[in-house]
Symmetry: C2
Subunit: 302 residues, 2 copies
Amino acid sequence: MTRFEVTILGANSAIPTANRFPTSQLLNVNESYYLIDCGEGTQIQLRRNKLKFQRIETIFISHLHGDHYFGLIGLLTTMHLLKREKPLKIIAPERLQEIISIQLRAGGTQLGYSIDYVPLVFENGYEILKDEKISVKVLKLSHRIDCAGFVFEELEKPRNLQKDNIDKYNLTFEEIKNLKNSIPIIRDKKELLEQLLEEKEITRTYAYVTDTKALESIIPFIESVDLLYHESTFLKNETKRAKATFHSTTHQAANIALKAKVKRLMLGHYSTRYLDLELLLAEAREVFENCILAIEGKTVKV
Amino acid sequence: MTRFEVTILGANSAIPTANRFPTSQLLNVNESYYLIDCGEGTQIQLRRNKLKFQRIETIFISHLHGDHYFGLIGLLTTMHLLKREKPLKIIAPERLQEIISIQLRAGGTQLGYSIDYVPLVFENGYEILKDEKISVKVLKLSHRIDCAGFVFEELEKPRNLQKDNIDKYNLTFEEIKNLKNSIPIIRDKKELLEQLLEEKEITRTYAYVTDTKALESIIPFIESVDLLYHESTFLKNETKRAKATFHSTTHQAANIALKAKVKRLMLGHYSTRYLDLELLLAEAREVFENCILAIEGKTVKV
């Protein structure tokens, strides 16, 4: 199987501590890098985890609260200082572009690479990106300001021919090419395709949901995903505060996972008040057993 | 002696590394805190050094290159989330205000405290701040964009009466009050003042000079300071590069210290290329012996 894994660079909520960084994750899809959110210190965390940040092709910013993007301008500047030339795509709320531009202008900086800004569309299921490896669809979340979640889905890879079949069916060069492009060959007046190819690889899906109150409306769009990252800022005894601040509790996150029948749940965006994260994990597992904590520096295979 | 000391929060140049932060320093003058520059990660460094950042009264930003201010918006936001109400003064290039405002607006954040923005005046000797404890004067530096240095000078404290003199001169309550306000008393038709008071405390001075090419024009304004922080981004074999990028070498920094007859020199703003900072120190000492390195987490008494 090719690589499809996410490295946690920060999983704390708004107030960073001496050793817990705000939100950022690096998704590695077969050696293409996608950065999801970029809190202050993300470039330091990328270095600490020995992740080559010039390899990042696309950056997703879920919303414009600082703990999700204050590290972006520093990362963009460092990419420039390190002589990046490769274009970068940034998928973010529209206003981000002006925030970045005003700071580059103030510093007299003309980036040595181009940025392709893609404004977010806050609509469940909207396909905001499709490249050679993945399709990314938006989730419309409910926070104090516009906020998006993302569902990352691997694209099916072109299937190879089972090599034995070249001799068995006496395939021509043309036929081989056709088969790879899903055009069947004809033998004994029958079309043959599926049985000549290698088995389909499974395509994996990763859903990223933060910051938001728990939302049933996203369930159809995250159903059966392999891994769901869902914020659980608070323990369940803070349900009132979660509601007031448009965040989720452990039980709420776990209930979404349960109803959406996801394979695995990862908690994150912890309030600074919790020193022992195991409490959050234990509570979520009361509702949904296959649950893990997002921990800085850890890499999770999807 | 009261406290007058500077804690180094970051001393690296533009590109941060896994364990070297960009520029920031905290000046403690008798328990009043002044923050000088605020690179990305400054709030994390303040926490790591157990410095209560709500005690900061004034923030100085030397110029608008990111390694000197990208950490400011995060710090301001965290101060707000931690319920700061005390006003904050920010002394910075004028355009900073719009950069901060646009980000607060985008996040829907209304700070719970007020910010008093004081636009920098780039003029040698211009007094940009005078409060109860210090006077701060500007140095006009020469960088790729407008950049200021700062000279922090302790104010003379009101001098106390030597207690023996109350009986000796049979002082009235009124006379005691006058003496403290430098109004002499009359005895035998003579004015008496100095000899009745305690000795003057020495006032200390700290000069902060980064980012700039080495500038003789600032020498009259930093003459004899107790501690000079002068950037030395490069070793002397990179003199050409220093000139091209408007930075200083070790020898240039040390020569300024020598000509200005400062008591002590502290180097900083090291290029990321130098893993062994002792090389920079050794070179500077060839010219000016009383020289130290700015090291993250270290506190230097002025």
